[in-house]
């Protein structure tokens, strides 16, 4: 289902961004970690869009 696929993507994103942004777990989530997590998600989406766009271009060229 589409909901399950969305959940799957959030698991993947949280996995990647947790490894990138969280070093030692602390008492509270600090501002720097929060900023890193938000930027990580947004830049990951940017990267996916860039990759999908270039791929589409490649397909169009070959047609």
């Amino acid at each position: 289902s589409q909901k399950a696929q969305l959940q799957q993507q959030i698991h993947k994103l949280n996995d990647v961004c947790w490894d990138l942004c969280v070093d030692k777990p602390r008492e509270k989530m600090d501002g720097r970690t929060e900023t890193c997590l938000c930027n990580c998600v947004d830049r990951f989406v940017d990267t996916s869009l860039l990759v999908a766009g270039r791929f589409q271009n490649l397909i169009n060229k070959h047609q």
């Binding site: 949280n14 996995d15 961004c17 777990p25 997590l37 998600v41 947004d42 989406v45």
Partner: protein, 55 residues
């Protein structure tokens, strides 16, 4: 929630238990509890940020 619990167990085990001993000592227990809370904070923040991008 099953998959979230599995992810938390695995990520927090790796972060908190680097030399497994004969019990889970109190500092490891505290680390796992804190790690779990942060992982869920992170999950909520990531979900929200991702949902905003989808709109």
């Amino acid at each position: 929630a099953q998959e979230l619990l599995q992810k938390i167990s695995e990520k927090c085990f790796k972060k908190c238990i680097t030399k497994p001993g004969t019990t889970l000592d109190s500092s490891e227990q505290r680390c796992v509890a804190m790690c779990m809370d942060r992982y869920m904070d992170s999950w909520n923040l990531v979900s929200r940020t991702f949902s905003n991008r989808l709109q």
